[in-house]
C-alpha cells in the first residue's frame, strides 16, 4: 500500500503520518491500541487535530482501494468539522477517479449528503438517489439513498 506513489503523496500532503509497531513498540502499541481500540494490524486510524477518531481502515487493501479509503477518510474529516465543500470534493474524487473500488458507493452517498449539508437544497439528495439507479444499485449505500427518491 505505502510504496504506491499516489498513496505516499496523499498521506504526506494531508497528514502527520505516525506509526506504532506491534513488536518494536510493544508498550506504545498496548497503550495507544487500548486508547483507540486497535486490536488488529494493520489498523489505520484517521484523527482530527484534537486526536478524535473520524475514520478507520482495518486490514490490508490493494492500492486503489486503499487510496479510495484515504480519500473517504479525508472527506469524513472535513465533513465532521463542517467543511462540506471540501468533504464533497474528496468524496466525489473517489467516484470520479476510482469508481470501481469498494469505497466508491459509500463516497457517492456521502458526496450527496455533503452537497445537501452545504447547500440546504434537498434536490441534492434526490439527485444522489437517482445516481444510484445508474450505478452501484446493489450496494448498501443505494438502499440508504433509496428513501430520498
Amino acid at each position: 500500500m505505502y510504496p504506491d506513489e499516489r498513496v505516499a503523496r496523499l498521506i504526506t500532503e494531508n497528514f502527520i503520518p505516525a506509526r506504532v509497531h506491534v513488536k518494536d513498540q510493544a508498550a506504545d502499541f498496548q497503550r495507544f491500541g487500548e486508547r483507540y481500540d486497535a486490536q488488529w494490524t494493520p489498523t489505520i486510524i484517521f484523527l482530527d487535530p484534537d486526536g478524535v477518531e473520524r475514520h478507520r481502515i482495518e486490514g490490508f487493501l490493494p492500492n486503489d482501494d486503499f487510496l479510495a479509503q484515504l480519500m473517504v477518510g479525508l472527506g469524513q474529516l472535513a465533513f465532521r468539522r463542517g467543511d462540506f465543500t471540501t468533504a464533497e470534493r474528496w468524496f466525489q474524487r473517489v467516484v470520479d477517479t476510482l469508481p470501481k473500488t469498494d469505497a466508491a458507493p459509500e463516497a457517492q452517498y456521502w458526496a450527496g449528503v455533503s452537497r445537501y449539508k452545504g447547500s440546504g437544497d434537498p434536490a441534492a439528495l434526490g439527485a444522489t438517489a437517482k445516481a444510484f439507479s445508474d450505478r452501484y444499485q446493489d450496494s448498501t449505500w443505494a438502499k440508504k439513498a433509496s428513501i430520498w427518491k
Binding site: 494531508n14 505516525a18 506504532v20 509497531h21 486510524i45 487535530p49
Partner: protein, 32 residues
C-alpha cells in the same frame, strides 16, 4: 516518495493540535 513516519505519538498528537493537522495513525506489524 517515502513517507516519513513518526513514532513519538504523544508529540505527534501535541503537534497536530498546535498546527491544526490531521494524523494518520498506523498500527502496524510490517517490518520496519
Amino acid at each position: 516518495m517515502n513517507i516519513d513516519w513518526r513514532h513519538d505519538i504523544d508529540r505527534v498528537l501535541t503537534d497536530a493540535k498546535a498546527r491544526n493537522k490531521y494524523v494518520l495513525l498506523d498500527f502496524s506489524a510490517a517490518p520496519m
